[in-house]
Subunit: 131 residues, 6 copies
């Protein structure tokens, strides 16, 4: 249950509807997921978030699937339930295999574990790692 | 400053030294970074951690640079200073360009932002994302 | 589902009931929310928590709505679902408008994003910021 | 020590320098803090971050000092050392008194504590808090 | 709802079933909890996780109940709902009394609170605490 | 470097000095660590924090060393550098052996790892774990 209502196309402002239109055109689907329907209460925040997301997750030097896996890894570390579901689904839609998913989980688990060990022991950074 | 001393090769047990040897052979370098020198106080923990890390970060379905970037992303979300330095260095050693690093930062920043927005609004998971 | 039962007025100890009475008197309502009913299994912890909360969230140099928004921001960063719901409701009860809520979300999202960027790059603190 | 160098005005690109100029004009100071000098390695990320920050922290329905305190609270919960220093300095520059700072710390401490208690007991959200 | 299906004994691979058998033998129960049924999609990850968990949570210098309480405390700080439920149940099964649970909650709450205060003020480590 | 100055005995208020006296009497040492010297800027917060800490970490159903290890585990999960140093020192002062420390690190590392795996897969809580 959200702390705000999820707005239908009929309930959003014209500014928000224009963002929904761009999401649909960019993604090639009529589907608008709940995150955007919740954000639509604040059209300026909706617009700024979508416009930035479109650039960040768009074509670049890192391939789309890798970007999704990085996004998912951060979302796991931050315990964001919705984000974990949406970016796991997105990664699968972009071709993540079960074997890759298993390795992704393994890397996340390993990082979590060594993050804890390093932090507990307050290990100083090696000179060799410094820029 | 660590909560434990960093052990030299001369100070570690035979079991720990065998792990150091394997790290050196696997990585093709004589350098042993501080994390392992701190962990060497507990040879069993050192050995279990290294043996697992070697498998997780070894060859597989996800390429080595992507694994490093995922590891780094988790370390950032967990505020692990040492891990951020060591895995940024490792990613660069594996070929991460400045442009890729910029995109990695952008994805991490975007994920952090939307994780916060989604969590604040407690957005319910769309049926479409469910397995 | 809690890891403990939620205690009714009939089930709590006399010490816990006295705390419930003070919550009711202080807030001017008969309603006792689930947090206190869960904490009531340990009357001393219940009492210490409520007594401190009453002081911290009471009159002072920061206005009550601002205190609720700060409380909510911390709860979002910590992914505390219950706290997010209870403090969003409390902020609204204290007059938070939809426009203010949108700005609060925007600040939280911005902080999350720049926290991630700064942490990823391990930016050193400027001399100008030091006390 | 950052994972990137801090770029001087002479070292940044024209696009980045234009952002520095806007920061200077907006803030009415010649000082550019380290965060922007680190971000300048990726002018597009620098520009997007600054442009959004300027809007989010600019005039609105929540007063500037309150925004800084919310930003600081999130940064504390995320253990972002740089952000804690920069936003504590910013809050003081915007008029935060010692008494307000003490209350801010008290609210953060209280939120952290009850976040932990609620999460530990997995307290279910009261119907009364639902939208 | 998990991002993967929970595999029954009939659905898992022979390698995963062998791990299930070891879990059953070690714990003296036929019950396999959902975590292992989810992990079974990746038998190597399942096996590595269980084999390490068995050692870490097995006999040693820290008694079993204390280990469970430490595990639970970390899980609370990380907001891991499943882990909180499973390790609260495990701690109770190993003899945790209601009074001990209340003290555990009190210590977690205190740590969360002072973690926040210390981090907010960026208190420098006393020389006396250094190794 | 703290965001506040560390107050000497000569600089604190009478109310704060009375708290320092109680810390000294309770701990049987003249040493006042930096946390209290930083908190002393707000005598009411100092007093409330110390008075609660004294009770929480005092005699009870969980032994003092176990309480310190739980406190340390939470501090690691929250990346609180100062708290990690102070509570590692306190645990050693209360008798934590190197072997126990190694096991504590192992449990923290295991918890961090499985917290990540469980969260990533969003494993539903087993009926058997419910109260």
């Amino acid at each position: 249950m959200a702390t705000v209502t999820l707005l239908s196309d009929e309930e959003v402002s014209a500014e928000a509807l224009a963002v929904f239109d761009d999401i649909r055109a960019t993604r090639g689907t009529d589907f608008i997921n709940n995150f955007w329907r919740a954000l639509a209460h604040d059209p300026a925040l909706l617009k700024a978030t979508w416009n930035r997301l479109k650039v960040v997750m768009g074509p670049g030097e890192i391939d789309p699937l890798t970007k999704e896996m990085i996004y998912l890894a951060v979302s796991v570390a931050n315990s964001c339930e919705y984000c974990i579901h949406s970016h796991t689904a997105a990664a699968r839609a972009k071709g993540m295999t079960q074997a890759q998913y298993g390795e992704l989980l393994s890397v996340i688990g390993m990082a979590q574990q060594t993050n804890g060990l390093v932090t507990a022991m307050q290990v100083p950074v090696d000179e060799e790692f410094k820029t």
